[in-house]
């Protein structure tokens, strides 16, 4: 299993890699060298070509041109099986664990040669010995479903190490972790690198992680590797300049009127309870109040009841207790009430949850308004009015679609997001509920959507921003509430917020009592 820990971990070099998908040149003459026993950050925006580069190395894609050298020897890697045989491993952004199985079962399953009958006693002993040699440990008998996101990330890494892979690619490993968990996972990876056990490639867009943990860094943009250098020899400003191509406005926070005081309470949620898909209590006594003209952010690690909370507010899930009041009156989430109180929302995975996939962009834009004048006329749809109205929205929100009649699922993620936002940010919005509105977007699209949200707030809209991205929360919000184990466990003004303190509240145990600062 742990093949000769004293041997040097693999080095890897790619030379002049080209890869084209249809009309998009995903990689053009990309060259980079990952040295043995180093932690190397691959920095770039979404769509810069980082994932394509490593997927070519791992054998998921075949490059159109170029060479790959492992330990100085040229290799042709045609399939993931071949990259595995060379000791190259990849830790994915999404987890590839079986949640209804134990840690031990998940580790054992990856082995090439499983015995027909498994002697669990000796396997647990061997796994225990293996864990002792690692920087982090997990209870081998625990069910994966009971692990926190950080522990799952560690298990993914342990799985690769257990299988004897000594060259690891980590694809945005900290996107689901709190700052403390991220520091811990990356710190422990760095320890293994420093012991000469591993070569690590860290795909990221977070400068903080690059400067703190990586020894080497490469910046990618538009399918090219622009620079490879030692981290100590560069600065955040220089890297940002390269990454965004000198467009400094892209990374900046949106302009907001911070001097204006928020208005009256518009939406009040008291002791709200709701069950999750498996019948457990997913939202537990959630209480908060939202004022006009403010953004209340609900921060938290994914899977702590945020999805269920938004579903209850959206009318997609029944509450088992508590009350929701909008504008001082009880709110039963009917279509009529949504229109009366101006409640609009953008949930996570909008293509799945907010759109009808097989309908056109125009039809999806009309979902809120098709039954009202001027689009509706005594029960009839006025297609010409609808078309003009849709075209105006498509132009205003710069939605790239081949035609208003194109199916919504042919659009890119950013354009789907813009389509839903165009529908939900209509003139009569008074309460806007957003869940991870910028997830998976490149920096330019994200900045644009954040600017729209900030503008809505300045117009006096009450905005509830449920987000797992702490940077986004700190950038956009006026107040921050932390959700953990279905409860609101902490609340503070943005001005007094501390990244690490918020992170600690995110991982507090579920039975902790709410407190205020």
């Amino acid at each position: 299993m742990t093949t000769s820990a004293r041997e040097r971990p693999p080095s890897l070099e790619v030379r002049d890699l080209d890869k084209r998908f249809g009309s998009v040149q995903a990689l053009s003459r990309a060259s980079v060298q990952f040295r043995s026993g180093r932690m190397h950050a691959l920095l770039g925006e979404n769509g810069a070509g980082k994932s394509t580069l490593v997927k070519c190395v791992m054998g998921y894609y075949r490059a159109d041109r170029g060479t790959i050298l492992v330990d100085g020897t040229e290799r042709e890697i045609r399939s993931p099986l071949q990259s595995r045989a060379l000791g190259l491993g990849m830790v994915y952004q999404h987890f590839t664990l079986v949640s209804q199985m134990t840690v031990a079962e998940n580790l054992i399953l990856g082995r090439a040669h499983l015995p027909a009958v498994i002697d669990w006693r000796s396997e647990h002993r061997l796994l225990g010995e293996f864990m002792r040699g690692m920087a982090f440990r997990l209870d081998t008998g625990a069910l994966v479903a009971s692990l926190s996101a950080g522990e799952k990330q560690k298990l993914e890494i342990l799985k690769q190490l257990y299988l004897g892979r000594r060259f690891l690619v980590l694809d945005e490993p900290t996107s689901v972790l709190t700052p403390d968990e991220a520091d811990q996972v990356l710190g422990e990876m760095r320890t293994l690198v420093d012991r000469g056990m591993l070569t690590v490639v860290l795909i990221t867009h977070k400068f903080r992680e690059v400067m703190r943990f990586a020894q080497d860094v490469s910046v990618m943009r538009g399918g090219r590797v622009l620079l490879t250098t030692e981290t100590a020899a560069t600065s955040v400003d220089a890297l940002a300049q390269l990454m965004f191509g000198g467009d400094t406005a892209v990374g900046a926070a949106p302009a907001m009127d911070r001097t204006r005081a928020p208005g009256d309470v518009y939406c009040e949620v008291r002791e709200l309870n709701a069950q999750g898909d498996r019948g457990t209590l997913a939202v537990a006594d959630a209480t908060f109040a939202l004022r006009k003209g403010e953004i209340l952010a609900i921060a938290g690690v994914s899977g702590n009841g945020q999805r269920e909370l938004v579903e209850v507010l959206a009318g997609q899930r029944e509450a088992t207790g508590g009350s929701i009041r909008v504008d001082g009156r009880p709110y039963a989430r009917s279509r009529r009430e949504m229109q009366r109180y101006g409640v609009f929302l953008l949930t996570e995975e909008p293509l799945l949850n907010d759109c009808v996939r097989s309908l056109s962009v125009m039809a999806n834009l009309a979902l809120r308004r098709y039954d009202q004048p001027p689009i509706a006329w005594h029960g009839w749809l006025r297609r010409r009015v609808l078309r003009q109205w849709a075209e105006a929205l498509i132009a205003r929100y710069r939605i790239h679609a081949s035609s208003p009649l194109a199916r919504i699922d042919t659009l890119s993620g950013g354009n789907v997001q813009r389509t839903v936002l165009a529908r939900e940010l209509s003139e009569d919005v008074r309460l806007l509920i957003l869940q991870n509105p910028c997830f998976g977007l490149d920096a330019a699209a994200a900045a644009e959507i954040r600017a729209q949200i900030a503008a809505a707030r300045d117009r006096g809209v009450a905005v509830l921003l449920v987000s797992e991205d702490l940077d986004e929360v700190l950038e956009l919000s006026d107040r921050i509430a932390v959700m953990s184990g279905g409860r609101i466990v902490f609340e503070c003004e943005r001005a007094n917020a501390d990244r690490y303190e918020l992170g600690r509240h995110m991982t507090r145990s579920a039975d902790a009592q709410p407190e205020a600062a």
């Binding site: 999404h94 590839t96 664990l97 054992i108 015995p115 027909a116 498996r278 457990t280």
Partner: protein, 309 residues
Amino acid sequence: MTGAAGIGWYGVALAIVGGALRVSTPYLFVSLGEVLTEKSGRVNLGLEGTLLMGAMTGFAGATLTGSPWLGVLAAGAAGAAFGLLHAAICNLPRVNDIAVGIALFLFGIGLAFYLGKPFIAPRAAMLPALPLGAWSDEPAVRAALEISPLFLIGAALAVALQWGIANTRLGLLLRMAGESADAARALGRSVNAIRTLATTAGGFLAGVGGAFLSLYYPGNWNEGLSSGQGLMAIALVIFARWSPLRCLWASLLFGGASALGPALQTVGVTSGYYLYSAAPYLLTLVLLVYSSSTRHALSGAPSELSISR
């Protein structure tokens, strides 16, 4: 209550126990087969058709060879062929396992009627019974404890499957395919191959269950033989929460319910006979309503099943 009536009611209880041991076997085999299939992430609703095909093939095999055990094997082979067919069709892209199951359910019934016509009259070599009640002088006890070896094989199989799912390579691969196809693919395992194997094995077991119907109890071949037992066994899997051992207990419960009508008849309660015969169907309804919820998914259901998503 008088003494005579007391013995009578004791007789009813004994008859229900005996009925449970006798009638439960097809439920047990079909539900174990369905557990295997569903653990791999697919539902095979065609097992009612497979059960009837097994009954017909088993009866024909026993008639033609003179050996009931060769009949059981033939029934298993026919069931396996049906399982393989279900799996092969479901391996094609964008095919729904539920729809394929319903098609095979009807196809199996039709094919069994068509091929089984010549065997309706003769009587085949029956499976032997083990007289586990021979120690007793009471004929009621003897009758109740006359047990088919197939039941014992099924009970042993339930224990073996329960153990094997947790402790063998095949068991782990089966669960992985049913819980996360993505994880299986990321490890380079073929999800389709695992599901094909599981569905074929599940079909084999359902076929053997059918052989019990035609070769032991009721022990003949006719077209109304299975009377929905294959479908109820699938419902029973949900009630048993995908656990082979719980399938054993649930099968006994259903068998006992089926024996309620005949048992009451023995003490002279004849009114409402057909109502009592409906007991297993009623039990299915009650249990499914009881174990379902509008608020959350079923616990223990393999995540890849179409009912879980």
